[in-house]
């Protein structure tokens, strides 16, 4: 138990901050994912074939390729791509991107593909009459989306979004390969210096279980809140 003590003698505080880092990366990635989903969902639902193709390409590729490969692409390719853009503007120094940004970008793009599918399914299951009624009342497309479709869509999407959240939370463990100190990386460091990998990896598993358990409880509340009146 003294291995988990806070302060200089134990790994308690380090693991605590690592847990906060995992939460921070997951939340950031989830929001980046929403951002991508907001772009690609309309593309997938669009009437134009070419826009459909772009949307389908994104979700198919990201969902068909291992997460680890995407992370490696960002890890090794990220700074190169930024430096290429910078060189166009006449800046040739070496640029290193923060591991937090690369990691949450990579996980965010992955979670975005899953969120896109969830949003698409939710919008498609809204009754067609709702769209027609909005049109008849002369409500413009923007208000229609934000005031009529989105609130109804959220109710349908929350159970599936909770799955996306769980996937995203577990995917953050893969960022440890880039050196960002989250739960997995911290356990790796602790296991290496104390030669007690069994204890630290089991503790990491418990931390992840706790995170998934707590988030399940919160999501269940949201689900109740958004399904009022049904």
């Amino acid at each position: 138990m003294e291995l988990l003590a806070f302060g200089k003698t134990g790994w308690g505080d380090e693991l605590f901050y690592a847990t906060l880092m995992t939460i921070a990366v997951s939340v950031t990635a989830m929001f980046i994912g929403f951002f991508f989903a907001l772009i690609f969902t309309p593309l997938k639902l669009s009437k134009f074939k070419s826009l459909n193709l772009i949307g389908n390409f994104y979700t198919t590729v990201i969902r068909g390729v291992p997460e680890l490969l995407v992370i490696y692409l960002f890890f090794f390719g990220g700074s190169g791509a930024i430096m290429y853009v910078a060189s166009i503007f006449g800046y040739f120094e070496y640029i290193e991107i923060n591991a937090f940004i690369t990691g949450s970008m990579a996980i965010g793009i992955i979670s975005g593909a899953y969120s896109t599918e969830v949003f698409r399914g939710a919008i498609q299951s809204i009754d067609k009459g709702q769209f027609e009624a909005a049109k008849v009342l002369g409500i413009n497309k923007f208000t229609q989306f934000y005031k009529i479709i989105l609130p109804q869509m959220l109710r349908l999407a929350i159970p599936n979004l909770s799955n996306v959240w769980q996937i995203t939370l577990k995917d953050t463990s893969l960022i440890s390969v880039t050196g960002l100190v989250e739960i997995m990386r911290q356990s790796y460091i602790a296991a290496g210096s104390t030669r007690d990998p069994l204890f630290f990896y089991c503790f990491a598993a418990i931390l992840y279980l706790m995170l998934t358990y707590i988030s399940m409880k919160i999501i269940n509340r949201l689900e109740i809140k958004y399904s009022r009146g049904y």
Partner: protein, 225 residues
């Protein structure tokens, strides 16, 4: 774009795909057996057996696959007792550790898929079997299991694809699978985009094949035909 690199790395990556496929097929095979076993336990009325099965699937679905591999590969070797038994022959090999971790992981997901398939079977079907005087064991093997397999095909297809992506984690325990070789080529040539296109293309091709095979099976065993 370095097309030369893409051409030269393609055979290397294709060779590594064999490792990925081996890992995938072994873990799916053992995972299906474990999944079926735990799904049957889950339907048991005894609360302890039921809770035990639920605990197993909760544990493996609530933690990342990476943690599970690390516990088995790095963690279990720490136990002195284990190193004395014959199990050590298996546990010292990263290949078998990866297969054990993948099996237990996919087994947990498969047990959930099969459980929900068993539970959606209409009681009328079982009652019809009973009223025809068929013994309950035969009802289970000849009626419930085939229907459950058909019901769970779409979800199981997704699980196969998820597991295929999961095998990429074998590269973290020194195995040279498709992702492992891709990472090696990237870190020696610093051309991530080219390698990503080739390796990602191979993964997508496998996804495409699995997707279509499952679709074919779904059509073949659909209730309407």
């Amino acid at each position: 774009m370095d097309f030369d690199l893409m051409f030269t790395s393609f055979p290397k990556l294709l060779g590594a795909t064999v490792v990925t496929l081996k890992l995938l097929s072994a873990s799916l095979f053992f995972g299906l057996i474990i999944g079926l076993f735990f799904a049957i336990l889950r339907l048991n009325k005894n609360i302890f057996i039921n809770k035990f099965s639920y605990g197993y699937s909760y544990l493996f679905r609530g933690t990342p696959l990476l943690v599970q591999i690390f516990i088995i590969y790095f963690g279990l070797g720490q136990i002195e007792y284990l190193r004395a038994t014959f199990l050590w022959v298996i546990l010292k090999e990263p290949y078998w550790c990866a297969i054990i971790a993948f099996t237990l992981n996919t087994g947990a997901y498969t047990s959930e898929i099969l459980r929900s398939a068993f539970q959606t079977i209409k009681p009328g079907i079982i009652e019809a079997g009973k009223s025809l005087g068929i013994p309950s064991k035969i009802i289970f093997y000849k009626i419930q299991i085939p229907i459950a397999i058909r019901q769970s095909l779409p979800a199981y297809g997704n699980e196969i694809i998820l597991m295929m992506k999961g095998t990429s984690l074998a590269s973290t325990v020194t195995l040279m699978d498709l992702t492992g070789v891709a990472k090696y080529i990237i870190s020696t040539t610093f051309k991530p985009i080219e390698v990503f296109i080739v390796a990602g293309g191979i993964y997508l091709f496998m996804t495409f094949i699995i997707h279509n095979v499952i679709k074919f099976l779904e059509k073949k065993y659909s209730f309407n035909s």
